[in-house]
């Protein structure tokens, strides 16, 4: 049989074709046609990804060169895909979860006009295409292209309902914050080119391990820049505030882009460059603390949010922080594991919240919900399973991945472990506050809404069920070593990716008995918190206005306000300075010039001569003077 890996180009090709058809035919195609094309394209990609996955599992990896993308001087950047263990896992997550969300969207977006419906699916397919490019590329430039592409699609989809100016603002905020990260990424790429003369992963890793081309400073600099890039895309401190605002987009978009896939691009990038990171302990420390701080901060904010999607958004930020914590402690496998389980349960939770919002007629405030378990059976149960998974109740998927991260954190320092565990408890608390307030107790909305409540159609519930199953059992591919020998299939699978860095970085071994104790303690505490929150909020929902410290949390620690005061305002002032002083004084806006021209039209000619042109020439002469003085008298 022909090598399946040769077919890898099909994986991104299908979504691209879907994008083209839906984009061009959005006016002529019917809604069902658009839905079939959009979802079908992703399904096709998923099937190919599966075939590829089994090939890779059989130990068959490859780098496929298609054509020379950029060739100049000594640098040759091919357009190439790298199919290996890491990328094949991400392919499955992206196309698998992506397909479910596409199916979900056919029902969720059904009330849009056909034209907008087509536009939505075109964007969504384009997003999947870019995301696939990002993970399949065999060098940093292809990754960057995908990186920019997903940013663009995210921007377009957040602003999908562009009639609302608030949404527009959110889209802009996301775009600008991402650009800051992208900038650092780009500089890192140029740094790598300058040192290695190539941007292929294998070449860079070879250069790093061989050691002559990079100094320690280079590696630290490059890894920090790449990490800054990751903080933008994966919403870490200080660039995280765009993600909660990004919830302005349609809910399936939040599920796909802002929970399951795009935001994990930063984790993918660091896992991809794990050898470089393992060579720079300083960067790893920075990542650990940034991740930990983000996880904690976002978890505290989530405690007091009342918008169902905002809670989930902050929870996503917090979980992403968890993944960075894993990366920082050198547990790359645990990070990828958590990416995967998180993709399942967070997509599930978002889709579930979408189902709720749908049923509530657009209402997102959990204070006006309650008792929904009676009306929406499937949504209720799947949502509950999702909550159990994210909280880390034993044997649910989140339990395994989170436990692995905590064990690795304990290996680094017990303090980090303690903070991490505290964050996990907060997670359990706010998730069950959300669950209990929404689904338990009695309904608090208007009479009309109550009348309207209904279970969603099957195009919505089937993806929920599939994701719920995955959220429950997804963890069993990574059973920790201390529970079952050889149980961690994922670690085995990813072994070739992390092997080079394992040599560089001493792994903190924790004895099996300690691990049992840690797991036991954390599980017991989490279960306790879950019961506490469930009871507390089922009986007396948290509906009042927050006061005291709660108010600080409800206002997200005033970070947005801080940014507004510390960064946006000074920038605006600087802008004003340039606009007023510079523009008025030096260029003296044409508006004035013309205004005067009209009023003194009889003498226009000479006014011109005496006006701006004189100052233009004067400034040119002054610059020439400056250059001459420096050249002839100072630069000897």
């Amino acid at each position: 049989m022909k090598n399946i890996l040769e077919l890898a180009y099909l994986v991104p090709l299908f979504p691209l074709i879907g994008f083209l058809i839906n984009g061009l035919g959005r006016k002529s195609l019917s809604k069902s046609m658009i839905g079939i094309i959009g979802s079908g394209a992703i399904l096709a990609s998923f099937v190919v990804s599966l075939l590829i996955f089994f090939q890779v599992k059989g130990g068959n990896t490859d780098t496929l060169n298609y054509f020379s993308f950029i060739r100049a001087g000594a640098v040759n950047i091919p357009f190439a895909f790298q199919i290996d263990q890491l990328s094949s896992i991400f392919l499955l997550i992206i196309t698998g979860v992506g397909f479910l969300i596409h199916v979900y969207s056919t029902s969720y977006m059904h009330e849009e006009k056909t034209e907008h419906f087509g536009r939505y699916f075109a964007y969504l397919n384009l997003f999947v295409f870019s995301m696939l490019l990002l993970v399949m590329g065999a060098n940093y430039v292809i990754m960057f292209i995908g990186w920019e592409g997903v940013g663009l699609c995210s921007y377009l989809l957040i602003g999908f309902w562009f009639k609302n100016p608030e949404y527009n603002k959110a889209a802009n905020k996301a775009f600008i914050m991402n650009r800051i990260g992208d900038l650092a990424f780009l500089i890192a790429i140029f740094w790598i080119i300058g040192k290695v003369g190539s941007v292929g992963y294998s070449e860079v890793i070879a250069a790093a391990t061989e050691g002559s081309k990079f100094t320690t400073t280079d590696i630290t600099g490059i890894t920090i820049l790449l990490f800054i890039g990751a903080t933008g895309k994966s919403a870490q401190i200080p660039l995280y505030t765009w993600l909660p605002d990004a919830m302005a987009g349609p809910t399936p978009v939040s599920a796909l882009i802002h929970a399951a896939t795009m935001v994990t691009a930063g984790i993918y990038m660091i896992a991809r460059s794990n050898v470089l990171y393992s060579m720079s302990p300083l960067t790893l420390n920075i990542i650990t603390y940034v991740g930990l701080a983000t996880a904690l901060l976002a978890a505290t904010i989530a405690l007091k949010q009342n918008d169902i999607k905002k809670v989930l958004a902050y929870s996503t930020v917090s979980q992403l922080g968890y993944m960075f914590l894993a990366l920082g402690t050198g547990a790359y496998v645990a990070a990828v594991f958590h990416v995967m389980t998180h993709a399942f349960f967070k997509a599930l939770l978002f889709l579930g919240s979408g189902s709720v919002i749908h049923a509530m007629g657009g209402e997102q405030d959990i204070r006006k919900m309650g008792g929904l378990n009676k009306y929406m059976k499937v949504t209720h149960i799947t949502f509950l399973l999702g909550c159990l998974a994210i909280a880390g109740i034993p044997l649910f998927s989140g339990f395994f991945s989170k436990d692995e991260i905590l064990a690795s954190a304990f290996g680094k320092s017990p303090v980090i472990y303690a903070v991490g565990l505290f964050t996990a408890l907060l997670t359990a608390f706010y998730m069950f506050r959300l669950y209990a307030t929404t689904f338990r107790g009695s309904f608090r909305g208007t009479h009309e809404q109550e009348h309207h409540l209904h279970e969603s159609p099957s195009a919505i519930t089937i993806p929920l069920v599939v994701l719920a199953v995955l959220s429950v059992i997804g963890g069993f591919i990574g059973i920790p070593e201390f529970m079952m020998h050889g149980g961690h299939k994922l670690a085995e699978f990813l072994q070739p990716i992390v092997a080079p860095s394992a040599k560089l970085l001493p792994v903190h071994e924790v004895s099996h008995s300690t691990e049992w104790i840690l797991t036991g303690v954390s599980s017991a505490l989490i279960i306790g918190v879950v019961f506490f929150a469930w009871n507390k909020f089922s009986r007396k929902p948290d509906t009042g206005e927050a006061t005291g410290f709660g108010k600080v949390l409800a206002n997200k620690w005033y970070v947005d306000e801080l940014y507004e005061k510390a960064i946006v305002n000074p920038l605006a002032k600087l802008g004003g300075f340039f606009n007023n002083i510079f523009e008025k004084l030096v260029v003296d806006g044409l508006v004035n010039g013309v205004g005067r021209l009209v009023s003194y039209s009889s003498r226009q000619l000479r006014l011109l001569q005496s006006g701006q042109v004189g100052s233009y020439v004067l400034l040119m002469v002054l610059s020439i003077l400056l250059v001459f003085v420096i050249q002839f008298f100072l630069r000897k």
Binding site: F67, F69, R179, F190, E583, L608, Y616
Partner: protein
């Protein structure tokens, strides 16, 4: 040589066509047909067919690079003619004469790209400039146009003065106009006269490509000139003068690179800064594009700074990417009623195709991947990186490119995300040309080799 002589003759033919032909479409047909002829003759010359055998006395050299570049420029001009030639009718009553002037400018472009003697460079620059002064003021009843023309003439004369003085000093130092015989920079300590002359030429060329701090004329002139001619000035002329700039400093002053490289870096940084920061605060798209053209010039200066093989490839790609995208935007802008950002509100709703093409052009200018603009910027940065001396410049350029995204996206945002009444009337032919243009931008963004291949052919 083919292109030079044929376009000069075409200029004369255009002059008479205005008298002989009553139909404007006839004039336009001759112009477009003539331009195709020039393009063919130039391509033939690349393959070794010379129509004219002139003893040039070593004053010009039509090497592969210059011929390729002239072909690219003529190609861009063809796009410009097809997209915008109709808009020239609105400017004034001298339709045929405008074409004649454009053909003469093309002669100047050929001279500037292939000079081997400073005399020819000077002639070329002047043949480009004088018709531009006239075209800027061609909308005679518009005060803004008059003002712009006069400003351009006055400041332009100043830069001509600088250039002459520079050439005179170089002549004083070397005793020749001939680039091949100058042998500058061979001695350890170059003569002061030559340095002073070189700096003066640097200033005057910076003026022509609107590099800061010699850019002051640009916003006023670009804003005041009729939009069709602004498009021509900002794209084709600018790219051509850049090639002349690179030839001058690469060939003539190549030996004394340490003396000017630093200044080019400073000019590039200043240009990037002023162009990008000021563009952010513009309310008019036309004026924003003027500043954007300054900002893009800053990027092109990186090629001059690096002056290696990457840079030569890069500048070729950059001029194509920049010219195509800007021609496309101006072609649409010329048909809008309102040049402010608000004037674009809701364009995507009424003209989805035009808006999509505009978006591609803007993305290319902003340097978003998979467009020609990204690769062009990439080449520039890579070249500057390879030059190795001023790493800060690369970082600064990347930063400024990020700023530029803001103002380009404002237009996209207005078109797609805002409600408004913007509309343009476009013919099917115009749409086809726009689509071809957008396709070219994308194709070059994926496979730049298509153009660069010819560089080594």
């Amino acid at each position: 040589m083919n292109a030079l002589i044929i376009s000069a003759i075409l200029g004369v033919i255009m002059m008479f066509s205005g008298i002989l032909l009553k139909q404007k479409s006839g004039v336009r047909g001759i112009a477009i047909g003539g331009l195709v002829l020039v393009l063919l003759s130039n391509v033939l010359e690349m393959n070794g067919t010379h129509f004219f055998n002139v003893n040039l006395h070593g004053m010009m050299e039509f090497d592969h690079f210059s011929l390729l570049f002239v072909s690219v420029i003529i190609g861009a001009m063809l796009f410009y003619f097809i997209l915008s030639a109709r808009d020239m009718e609105k400017v004034g009553g001298y339709y045929a004469e405008y074409f004649a002037l454009l053909f003469f400018i093309l002669c100047g472009i050929v001279l500037v790209t292939s000079f081997k003697s400073l005399l020819i460079l000077f002639l070329g620059i002047e043949i480009i400039s004088i018709p531009l002064y006239i075209l800027t003021g061609s909308d005679k009843r518009n005060l803004k146009s008059n003002e712009a023309s006069l400003k351009y003439l006055l400041t332009g004369s100043f830069s001509t003065g600088l250039m002459l003085m520079g050439i005179a000093l170089i002549y004083g130092a070397t005793g020749t106009f001939d680039v091949a015989k100058m042998k500058l920079g061979l001695s350890e300590q170059p003569e002061l006269l030559a340095i002073a002359g070189m700096l003066l030429l640097l200033f005057s060329m910076s003026f022509k490509v609107s590099a800061a701090p010699f850019h002051f004329w640009t916003p006023d002139v670009y804003d005041g000139a009729p939009t069709v001619f602004t498009a021509f000035m900002a794209t084709i002329v600018k790219a051509a003068v850049f090639i002349g700039f690179i030839r001058l400093f690469g060939d003539t002053f190549g030996g004394m690179a340490p003396k000017w490289q630093f200044w080019v870096a400073v000019l590039a940084a200043a240009t990037l800064f002023i162009g990008n920061i000021t563009a952010v605060f513009q309310q008019s798209v036309k004026r924003m594009l003027a500043y954007s053209s300054i900002a893009q010039a800053g990027f092109m200066l990186l090629a001059l700074f690096a002056m290696n093989q990457d840079a030569r490839e890069g500048i070729l790609l950059y001029s194509v990417a920049y010219s195509l995208a800007t021609i496309g935007i101006f072609a649409v802008l010329g048909r809008m009623n309102d040049y402010t950002f608000e004037g674009f509100n809701g364009l995507a709703r009424r003209q989805p195709l035009v808006a999509a093409v505009l978006t591609i052009c803007l993305l290319s200018l902003a340097g978003i991947p998979l467009t020609a603009g990204f690769l062009a910027k990439f080449y520039m940065l890579k070249a500057a990186m390879a030059a190795g001396t001023q790493f800060w410049l690369v970082i600064f350029a990347v930063l400024m490119a990020a700023v530029s995204v803001y103002y380009y996206f404002r237009v996209i945002q207005a078109m797609y995300f805002k409600e408004g009444e913007a509309n343009v009337t476009v013919s099917a032919g115009f749409k086809t040309a726009l689509v071809v243009l957008a396709a070219l931008i994308i194709v070059l963004g994926v496979a730049p080799e298509l153009i660069l291949y010819w560089l080594y052919f």
